[in-house]
Subunit: 235 residues, 2 copies
């Protein structure tokens, strides 16, 4: 497979203002989508572009530890939905009162509505015994896989495809459903499909579950806890 044309860096490597704005647009308008999925199929060339984006994340030691299982079969989705219902019933029982009521009203997955489910895995032995850069932090292969997922998520947004990450699943049971061998870890189960709209704000923010934290509280200078003095107003 030839490298995508866009890997050829233009001479000065600069992005125009419009290009830069488009990158930020994808970042700020990306959503974790659980509703508004349309039944229209995702064409193979679009899906391949999105997967190619994932595959072009960096990885520790150039390990490229990811695999992508594309699921379209309703029976498989139903089996995964059953895993969700079981795990979510247990999760809901942890909340009480109004919080429990709010939790039960939230839509937390679109497994059967989205035309494609995508299971993203990390093969922990792909690089052989010694993976460059992984000797001190063993989980950097998982971190690389998450970076690939974010590439996929942003590429999908640019294609008009919504992506929802279903985290409320027993991954060992999911591995049974999909025949995933022992040294391979499930990192994400994603639902992909064109959508009628992208919500203007994250679902949990709109539902009043949690508020967005002010960035300036999250940025320190030199040492943990030391205010950075930066604020968007001044910036």
């Amino acid at each position: 497979m030839a490298a995508p044309k866009s890997t050829r860096v233009r001479r000065n490597g600069q992005f125009s203002d419009k290009e830069r704005a488009a990158v930020y647009r994808a970042i700020f308008e990306r959503r974790d989508v659980r509703e508004h999925f349309l039944p229209a199929p995702i064409p193979d060339d679009v899906l391949l572009r999105i997967l190619q984006a994932a595959h072009h994340a960096g990885s520790v030691g150039f390990m490229q530890p990811w695999n992508f299982i594309v699921i379209r079969e309703p029976s498989t989705k139903r089996a995964v939905k059953d895993l969700f219902l079981k795990a979510n019933g247990e999760a809901a029982a942890r909340y009480q009162g109004t919080r429990a009521a709010l939790y039960r009203r939230l839509k937390l997955e679109g497994i059967e509505e989205a035309p494609i489910s995508l299971c993203v895995t990390c093969h922990r032995q792909r690089g052989g015994r010694h993976v460059l850069g992984r000797s001190t932090v063993r989980d950097t292969d998982l971190y690389s896989t998450c970076c690939a997922i974010q590439n996929l998520w942003l590429a999908a947004r640019a294609e008009g495809v919504g992506v929802g990450w279903v985290s409320i699943l027993d991954h060992e049971a999911l591995k049974q459903v999909l025949g995933i061998p022992r040294p391979v870890k499930v990192v994400a189960y994603l639902c992909l499909g064109y959508v009628s709209e992208f919500a203007p704000h994250p679902d949990l923010e709109r539902a009043g579950w949690r508020a967005r934290l002010p960035l300036e509280q999250l940025v320190y200078q030199e040492q943990w806890g030391a205010p950075s003095g930066m604020s968007e107003e001044e910036g």
Copy 2:
């Protein structure tokens, strides 16, 4: 802090062809940068945009578990460089023969050359006792933090800022250097700076350390190991 203007989704939510191409350009031209850093400082407004991009990743239960420690002090960078030298000496000893010689020739960090080091952490207790969506897969907070890092990496590329992820560090020792408390995990130590060029291909690919895997080998259909039948030529 007001939400960035670009969070306002345009009515149809569609990206133009040019916008879409810009997103893919950032994805395909992003590099893990260890050399070619320029001493020019990164203005605060540029750094804030890049951090705002990170902060707009999705997070499990809208937990936003990340913090960002911006490091400019040469003495702190020197202390971290010493941690790298120790961990890298141990890592290099794992290779033999020509592989060992190649390993020792690779440049694996730009800690002292890059004007800013950025330590990205994950506060594992931020969301309280029960974080929505995190009951079955405890590490989803780390996964969210990695998604934030990829946002940051792509935004930086669009700004002309190179980012290098230094993974060859003892994170417990790094926490001592930066005063990071116990329930907070270091996810990444990044080096940021404007660069004279972005390499056309990943350093480890160019050096012949490992080759890029063909995407079609990494994509399965319905079950682990079942060929997808998709290929870029047909797509």
